[in-house]
């Protein structure tokens, strides 16, 4: 992975320089050059995500491959951040004000991010069901000629797909209704219930847990460092916090997660920071998308799912009015859509598991860093305690 190579060399360099500097000046807090470099890297990486340069294959915003790049960016920034903050540094430096307050706050955010990672991993699970339903539709319609029976089969699968997609975030309690309707042993009113509808997104955490609220609380005490602090270690902590909040926010926007009402509310990133420009740009783009979609219950902004929704809808229309042998023009149009849907399914088949694994990697990385920070805080706390 190129990301890690890069990261490795960077870390090597930074640690060498740090050691030299420390040798000269024990009280040194933060090398300005390190901070500038970090800011530049953050800015470069995110601008790559916002508007990729020509030589890179374009990943549509919020597609699976784009999200994977986003996670890569997170991992790179995180590694660099940790290098700046921890490597070769005396623990006492980060256990004194204002870091003694900022780091624990940062770690609180990290814990919330962990829960969000879990929620999102679970959300990715729910995509698989959609993918399978779409695959049924594809295999039903990918025939020549299409018969009424197959058209109806596709329609049924697509209807299930639509209702699976349009599950409300809050609809974790879905199970009760289905239990009731099934226990009759008669095929009464639920005849129209598309099978598969019962497969709600099963949430993993307590009922009142809300992804949107988590993100909101992650930002509550997030304030840009001012004055002298701005050139100190408080700065990278702030930058990394913003990155973390942004990445989690983007994930939650793309992937279903428990209770996302109010997600559109921007968390403020001060415009004066040049490193933040691309993040703000991305935030605006995604925020606009979200506002467009928020009204309808939806599966999330994941590009593949959006495409699936669009194609599904139009194929439902096609199957609705379909009568064998169908108008040539419409059949051809449908065939193209089926091919596109099939391609989308393929991308999901290939991408979802790696995406899940990568979110898991982010999860583990955050856990590890948290432990390292706690250790350092612990050491710092001890060494700064007056010796008796």
């Amino acid at each position: 992975m190129p990301a890690t190579e890069y990261q490795g060399s960077f870390l090597g360099r930074i640690s060498i320089r740090r050691n030299q500097i420390i040798a000269v000046d024990g009280n040194h807090e933060l090398d300005l050059e390190d901070l500038e470099l970090f800011q530049k890297h953050v800015s470069d990486r995110f601008s790559e995500l916002l508007s990729p340069t020509d030589d890179v294959p374009v990943d549509t915003l919020l597609s699976i491959s784009w999200l994977r790049k986003l996670l890569d960016v997170f991992l790179c920034c995180e590694a660099e951040f940790k290098a700046i903050l921890l490597m070769g540094r005396d623990p006492s430096q980060i256990s004194k004000p204002p870091l003694d307050r900022l780091i624990p706050e940062f770690l609180d955010r990290a814990v919330k991010a962990l829960d969000l990672c879990n929620g999102v991993i679970n959300g990715v699970e729910s995509f698989r069901h959609c993918q399978k339903l779409a695959e049924i539709a594809v295999s039903a319609l990918d025939q020549n000629p299409i018969r009424d029976g197959q058209a109806r089969r596709a329609k049924k699968a697509l209807n299930s797909l639509m209702s699976a997609m349009n599950l409300d975030d809050k609809e974790g309690s879905n199970t009760k209704t289905t239990e009731r309707s099934w226990s009759f042993g008669r095929r009464g009113g639920n005849k129209d219930r598309p099978p598969g509808h019962f497969r709600s997104l099963s949430w993993q955490v307590a009922k009142n847990w809300s992804a949107a609220k988590q993100i909101q609380t992650m930002t509550t005490n997030l304030v840009a460092p001012r004055g002298g602090e701005a050139s100190g270690l408080a700065s990278p902590v702030y930058i990394m916090s913003v990155i973390m909040v942004f990445v989690m926010w983007a994930l939650v926007a793309a992937i279903p997660c428990q209770e996302r009402t109010g997600l559109a509310t921007h968390f403020p990133v001060p415009k004066q920071f040049s490193w933040a420009h691309s993040i703000i740009g991305l935030q605006e783009k995604i925020g606009d998308e979200w506002k467009k979609k928020e009204k309808k219950g939806m599966a999330g902004l994941l590009e593949e799912m959006q495409k699936m929704e669009k194609l599904g809808q139009s194929l439902i229309e096609f199957t609705d009015s379909f009568q064998f042998p169908g108008e040539t023009e419409k059949v051809e149009e449908a065939a193209a859509q089926v091919a596109e849907l099939s391609e989308t399914c393929r991308r999901m088949e290939e991408g979802l598991l790696p995406l899940q694994m990568q979110i898991r990697e982010v999860f583990h990385r955050i856990v590890r860093s948290r432990t390292e920070f706690l250790d350092v805080l612990d050491q710092g706390g001890k060494s700064s305690a007056p010796l008796v």
Binding site: V111, K112, L114, D115, N118, I121, N122, E125, R128, H129, K132, L133, E135, I136, S139, R147, D148, G149, Q150, R152, R153, K156, A157, T175, T178, E179, W182, S183, G185, R186, R187, G188, P195, G196, F198, R199, S202, W203, Q204, V205, A206, W209, F324, L353, Q356, M357, R360, F363, H364, V367, R370, T371, L374
Partner: protein
Amino acid sequence: MDECRSTIPTYEGDLHVVAAAHHIVKALGATNNLSDDLRKILIDLDAHLSMITSNIDSKGGRGFVDVEERLKQAERKIVSWESDPMMIWNSGPRESSEYLEAVDEIQTLIDGLRGLSVKENRKQEGILHQAASVLQMAMSRLEEELIHILVQHRQQFEPKHMSSRSTRRDVVYDDSFVSVEDEPAEETSSRNCSSDESGEYIVDLVHAHVIPDIKSIAKVMFTSDYGQEFCEAFIGVRKEALEQYFAILETGKLSIEDVLKMEWTSMSSEMNKWTWSMKIIFRIYLASEKRLCDQVLGDFISVNFCFLEISKATILCLLNFGEAIAMGPHQPEKLLRLLDMYETLADLLLDINTLFSEEAGSFVRLQFHELLERLGDSATAAFKAFGVAISSNGSFYPFPGGGVHPLNKYVMNYIRMFPEYCNTLNLLLKDQHADVANPVTEPEYGQNMSLSTSCPMACHLRSITSSLEFNLHKKSKLYKDEALRHIFLMNNIHYLVQKVKGSELRLFFGDEWIRKHNAKFQQHEMNYERATWSSVVSVLKDDNPGSSSMSKSTFKERCKGFNIAFEEVYKTQTSWCIPDPQLREDLRISTSLKVIHAYRTFLGRNPAHVDDKCVKYTVEDVEKLLLDLFEGSPRSLCNSRRW
């Protein structure tokens, strides 16, 4: 089945019978793990049947029903159920098998017609079209029936197959070091009982008697190429069933944030629940689920995908709780629960590897392997923290009465359970150095030490008790009274030795350790006697052993001295405490021997003065009074002249 199709004749005349033959062959061919030989035999058989058929035909046997008529019949059957509110499989075996026959018939017709050169024949094309529509109707219906059967015949199994941990383990150890009193010594390890748990239990998650029904639905749906629909419906119901079962286990769905904020008592019980749920979910539920998948789907597809889909969400939930626990601060009180979690998972890894053996399951396998590592690290950290907590536990005031200090009780009762985790602790601690910098010198263990006394856990155990001893010595310095200091140390070291001797710990500490520590507390016993009674007895000593008796005034003075000294001892030491009755008894006996002997000699040598008022206590009185010492209830003799 492609081979079968190739044998379909190209003229309509044979359609009926060959279709029947085809049907049989197809039924046999549905077993998809056929060997090539078997497949060939089936093809031969198919050819053979065709030959017989043509013989019958040539003899002018039964004619065949018109294809269109057969389709109509089957269609009537299928359509008639569309308006029926009853579920087919609830209406009786005849109804369901008739329905399946009708579906089969349609499938057969479709297969047959596909083999014909239909493109030229409008009528056949029309029939095929109609058949496909009816088939779709039937498949949709079968999906519903399937869901209904799966829901209706779901078996709720009670999680009683595995009893929860014995109550002994439910004692919550906390960081206060005070909450643990000695428990009745029901030493029979709960481990032995729980080893039964490792036996595999497979239960019917769906009533066994409907499995053939489900399979028959699976068969027609897969044969008709509706396998995807079948799988999605099956996965959906089974996934939900697992989630509901998981809810019954009351393993709360907790966020990491919740777990990190949790107070210890609830966390302890959640950790308990987790170990329990892990066993039930993996060993019983998922093993059973896998069997169900195999039973239902094994003939048609590789079941791993479905199985993974069904189980993944719940598994992630269990995984995340483990992660959250491993992340938390590693307080010493968590140690046993962490070890429980570690051992449970270590024990289950094989099951997990088997259940998720394929590539698709590598995610699950990997995550649990990593979790095991982290739980191991956490347990090790908690173990270290335990040692640190012992050495740093400080007191400002001397422990009243000189009895067994709560820290000692806590530590000894806690480590008494370690031998149960011996293998795990040895594994986890083997790279951890025992705290050699400990100020209390480790007894030299010679060449003759056995394996159990030299294992990593044994070394760490001894390191823990030496930290404990060191701390107890520190605490003993808080006593101003030297005698009480010795009582305190005697009590505590005696307690330590008793705990070691009375449990499996003795195997790890070894006889040498026990001998040395016996000697230690006996030393304190002697030191006590010297500190308390030497001065008292010395009062009675005859300065002039040559003369037969002392003067009255000397006698009186000595008597008075003895009385005062004895009353003083009585007053203070009745409030002291030796909780162990045997130890108390021993000390009294040896005290009596010393004091009574001296007193009796003293009185015996001066028979002339014995009636004097100054002899406040007879030998018998003193003997009796000595029994009041160390009972922990202060008494006084000063004002009561006689009782």
